[in-house]
Symmetry: C2
Subunit: 98 residues, 2 copies
DNA sequence: TTTTTATTTAGATAATTATCTAAATACAGT
DNA sequence: ACTGTATTTAGATAATTATCTAAATAAAAA
């Protein structure tokens, strides 16, 4: 879980995850969304991969990335346990309204 | 919310929050839980304060810290929105079982 | 087989940050 | 007023990390 916190600490990586939530993307497509080099994005993707937050699938020349949704579930459960005991019901209640 | 992610990125700060979830503590009591200097803990407390995750109350010589639970609620709601749309129901379901 | 395209890896640099010691602040007790 | 206790602030250092360019890998196209 330590790796997950670390992976989520960076805004670029969170943005990558937000975009992958909408659709799977190749490394090149992800690079095109940001104004940093491909090497930098590759580095971020590696950290996200090692945290198991994303999955890579090689296809011909390209590598398509997609969210590993089960790890999000685990993470949200985890922080709800660690930090949210008292607030659980309320949060679930609120979140279901949108 | 950027400040919150940042504050939660450090394991010492997460441990402080976990302990404050159980009971309010003075700065000195928090320092006693860790093997780093008081100045270092003070620095972490400042970051947690600036992220609004904790509240400080001065009493005589000591300063008692406590969780700002509403910010946790907001944060959990936030990440559920950003990352958890598809998984929401399932997570809430699971979390309510413990 | 040479070239082009997609991506990662290596190595370097600059920025951030966690930590330390020492000094400052504030307040209580003597 | 002094001494001791609790905490923060200042300034320095060391570790981490985000980023870059250049080189390496791999696979398709020519």
């Amino acid at each position: 879980m330590k790796d997950v916190w670390n992976a989520l600490a960076d805004p670029t990586r969170r943005e990558i995850l937000t975009r992958l939530q909408k659709q799977d993307m190749t490394a090149g497509e992800i690079v095109a969304c940001f104004s940093v080099s491909g090497a930098t994005i590759s580095h971020h993707l590696k950290i996200l991969r090692e945290a198991d937050l994303i999955l890579a699938q090689k296809e011909k020349q390209t590598i398509t990335y997609r969210l590993n949704t089960t790890v999000f579930q685990d993470f949200l459960k985890h922080i709800a346990e660690v930090f949210g005991n008292a607030q659980k019901e309320e949060i679930y209640h609120e979140a279901e309204q949108n």
